[in-house]
């Protein structure tokens, strides 16, 4: 009933989707899987009308159509159940269900809440929810709200003539096992009413629920398998795709580090409620540890906790073999030679309206001022030396960072932490959004830092990065370290990593 033919989408020079062929039949549950950045969310957004395809055609029941907006897609039978829930907490369940459609319940210019409650009960019955529709939405559990979200989409049934296609975007990511079971039961029951597109990074769930599975990689459909014939290992292989090539990763450039020396950082059974649990590892001087996992698996929370941004609920973190040293704020982290390059470079990494020298000394103003006055000449000298060392492309050291390319901005941030004398540096997606040349530069800098005896924790952008850079790789899944790889002893493949994460 819904069919995509040769659909492509580009963002500037980046091809997000190319020639996607995709269809959903009536009463079918279609799974959609792929690595981070494979194009899943772009495809979803085109399906529910948030993005428009650059080329290709969309058919509904064999009739060519297009979706100009989410509202337009909805009127043609496409419903979206959002991962970040779209319900408004301080409205009642029924007000949420009929948000924007209150006029259907108008009587003498006022809303007839009795009638609305009645209609709501009928909608809630579809998803098997027996709750009072006048209750405030925020009082419900997460899984109940998820079902209300589904019920809200199902109100489309009565409004449109055709059939429904409902998109479920990572609907199980925060549900318990029982709740997942319940959701699947409901979805299976609703198959008579609608077709579903199910997106999840939990492969076993996709396999058990879907009739057919599309595998996306680098913006293309690389595989299509029947649900009952699907095997996790085959799907994982096509998600990863390429041949493993040691030279490509440049693993030979990785230097050994001294494991016998006391670790720079020792984490034991660290837990932060709702973020991660029972994480343990050691980090030695010169070691590169890569944390691999899906979005939201808890990797970012781990590095942020080490940087003093979250407080530990259980476990212990020992820095520099000094058990008395507690890092409870970023200020304490920086004063103790710990550096952190956040993932959102433009918001947390760089000061766009400050120049290169100002950016570099922002974490070491104490060393670049005396009696509260800045030593500007020294700042410029520092900036000039790093511009030279890292070949940062800029007219001068006093150029505002907003004028630099992403790769050069990233070099500025790295130079900042190195010149601050950091002994531990944590890099969250250091190559995100950079072109290939700039990525290579960042890899080189990471190797240099490792050679200089800095301990590094890297949250890589791709598996290749993890394998090419890491002495060790820890796979984090749902807040737990599910697998550790020692890359100096074994050849790790992307396939191994995907198998552990999904």
């Amino acid at each position: 009933m819904l069919e995509f033919k040769n659909v492509s989408k580009e963002f500037g020079p980046v091809k997000a989707l190319s020639n996607i062929n995709f269809k959903v039949d009536k009463g079918e549950i279609v799974g959609l899987v792929g690595e981070n950045g494979a194009g899943k969310s772009t495809l979803m957004k085109i399906i529910f009308g948030a993005y428009q395809a650059d080329s290709g055609t969309i058919f509904i029941d064999g009739r060519q159509t297009r979706f100009t907006s989410p509202r337009d897609a909805m009127s043609q039978g496409i419903g979206m159940v959002f991962q970040e829930q779209s319900l408004i907490g301080n409205l009642s369940v029924m007000e949420n269900l009929f948000l924007g459609r209150e006029q259907e319940f108008r009587r003498f210019g006022l809303i007839d809440f009795k009638k609305m409650a009645e209609a709501s009960r009928a909608q809630l019955a579809k998803v098997g929810l027996d709750i009072d529709p006048t209750i405030e939405t925020s009082k419900l559990s997460f899984s109940q709200r998820q079902l209300i979200e589904l019920a809200k989409v199902l109100t489309l049934e009565e409004r449109i003539s055709g059939d429904l296609v409902i998109l479920l975007d990572e609907p199980t990511s925060v549900l318990s096992e029982d709740e997942v079971g319940l959701l699947f039961e409901i979805v299976n029951k609703l198959k008579t009413r609608a077709a579903f597109i199910f997106v999840s990074h939990r492969l076993d769930e996709v396999i058990s629920l879907s009739d057919r599975i599309y595998v996306l990689k680098d913006g293309e459909v690389v595989d299509e398998v029947k649900g009952n014939k699907a095997k996790a290992s085959n799907i994982q292989a096509s998600m990863v795709g390429r041949e493993i090539n040691t030279e490509y990763y440049r693993q030979d450039q990785r230097l050994p580090f001294d494991k016998e020396a006391a670790p720079l950082l020792s984490v034991q059974n660290a837990s932060v409620a709702k973020k991660f649990e029972d994480i343990s590892f050691d980090l030695h001087a010169g070691q590169v540890l890569c944390l691999v996992g899906t979005e939201g698996a808890g990797r970012e929370a781990i590095v942020r906790t080490l940087f003093g941004m979250h407080s530990l609920d259980r476990g212990a973190i020992t820095f520099f073999d000094k058990p008395s040293l507690k890092i409870t704020s970023p200020h304490a982290a920086v004063s103790n030679h710990i550096g952190y390059m956040p993932r959102e470079r433009k918001i947390e990494g760089i000061f766009a309206s400050m120049n290169i020298a100002e950016n570099m000394t922002s974490s070491q103003l104490g060393a670049y001022s005396r009696y509260g006055l800045l030593k500007k000449a020294d700042e410029l000298k520092l900036a000039a030396s790093w511009i030279d060392k890292l070949s940062i492309k800029t007219p001068s050291a006093s150029t505002d960072c907003i004028r630099l390319s992403g790769g050069n901005q990233q070099k500025v941030v790295l130079a900042k932490w190195r010149s601050t004398g950091s002994r531990i540096i944590m890099l969250d997606h250091p190559t995100r959004g950079l072109d290939i040349g700039a990525k290579e530069d960042v890899y080189t800098m990471i190797r240099e830092m490792s050679a200089a005896g800095i301990g590094l924790i890297v949250i890589p952008d791709t598996f290749e990065e993890a394998i090419g850079l890491g002495h060790n790789i820890t796979v984090v899944k749902d807040g737990r370290a599910v697998k550790n790889f020692n890359c100096m002893q074994e050849q790790v493949t992307p396939f191994d990593l995907v198998s552990a994460m999904t």
Binding site: F307, P330, H331, A333, V334, S335, Y340, P342, E344, I347, E348, G349, I350, F351, A352, S353, M354, E358, T361, S362, S363, L365, G366, Y368, S369, G372, L373, L374, K376, K416
Partner: protein, 312 residues
């Protein structure tokens, strides 16, 4: 070319206005009257300098006017007893009250426009209470002995201009040369990045509001010396033009760029607008309306919409 024009539009605005007003009335271009014009606006300028720091970090200080009001009362009451000490004492009062606004903002996460509005209410009440809600006159002997020089001129330059220049240089030093100034810039430019660089963001913010309070108090002292008295509402009508001066000068509400040089230009723009209203015979009752309109226009032109997702 467009970039140069865009980053210097406050200068462009100033010169365009000066030329336009001069074309309407050639008397406007008289150097002596221009200097008097600038001398008159010094208290407002000093208040605007303080506000610059609050706005530079992305906040606002709505207590500035009430602070100046209260200080005129305090200065009038205690000049005779405190003598020259009145200046540091008043400055300190401003720093403390401004610091309290900052603490309320950073500790309890109350937006600065609310915390400073509340502290402004406190200042206003204190002023009413201290003055018995009436206009006070300074001890003229003390005033003439200690501050008489401020009211005269050196050659054709009114001495208040030197006072304004002195405060300006200090403010410029803080902004451009001090570690604090750099931290203010960092917080205004990207607060999350400042925090991730290990800066003590709450402390920096408190200091910004303390500076704003202190300079508003200083504005109050100078204003009361000029008028030789004080009253709880004598400086009413300062706040709007002071905010206009900062924003027209080119320090946007989102902070991080601009600074005290911009505020200098902005204040001159305000001075020109104000005197042009005299030349164009705009009634005094209409002046605040004009500043209100100019404020909105200035915000519309300076705001960086990419930083805003929702406006409330």
């Amino acid at each position: 070319m467009r970039d140069i024009l865009k980053s210097n539009y406050h200068w462009v605005t100033l010169f365009t206005l000066v030329i336009l007003v001069g074309l309407v009335d050639m008397n406007f271009w008289n150097i002596e009257s221009l200097l008097i014009l600038m001398g008159d606006i010094v208290p407002l300028f000093i208040m605007a300098l303080g506000l610059t720091f609050a706005i530079y970090i992305g906040g606002i200080d709505l207590s500035a006017q009430s602070m100046a009001n209260m200080i005129t009362v305090i200065a009038s009451l205690y000049l005779a007893t405190l003598g020259l000490w009145i200046v540091p004492v008043c400055f300190l009062v401003g720093v403390i009250l401004g610091g309290i606004s900052g603490l309320i903002t950073t500790r309890f996460l109350v937006p600065s426009f609310i915390s400073t509005l509340a502290i402004g209410g406190v200042c206003y009440s204190l002023a009413q209470w201290l003055s018995g809600n009436r206009a006070l006159y300074m001890n003229s002997e003390s005033r003439d002995a200690l501050f008489g020089w401020m009211l005269s001129s050196t050659g054709i330059v009114p001495n208040t201009i030197f006072v304004g220049a002195f405060v300006f240089v200090i403010a410029l030093l803080i902004e451009r040369r001090s570690s604090l100034g750099r931290q203010l810039k960092a917080v205004g430019s990207a607060e999350l990045a400042a925090s991730a660089s290990g800066l003590l963001v709450p402390r920096v913010k408190v200091l910004a509001f303390a500076l704003s309070g202190g300079l508003a108090a200083l504005a109050g002292v100078i204003f009361s010396i000029k008028l030789s008295g004080g009253a709880p509402s004598i400086a009413n009508g300062f706040l709007l033009p002071a905010i206009v001066a900062v924003l027209v000068g080119g320090t946007p509400l989102t902070g991080g760029v601009g600074g005290v040089v911009n505020t200098l230009v902005g204040t001159m723009i305000v001075a020109v607008i104000r005197s042009s209203m005299l030349y164009l015979e705009v009634a005094a009752t209409h002046q605040q309306m004009v500043f209100g309109i100019v404020l909105i226009i200035a915000i519309v032109f300076t705001i960086d919409r990419s930083k805003l997702s929702i406006v409330k």
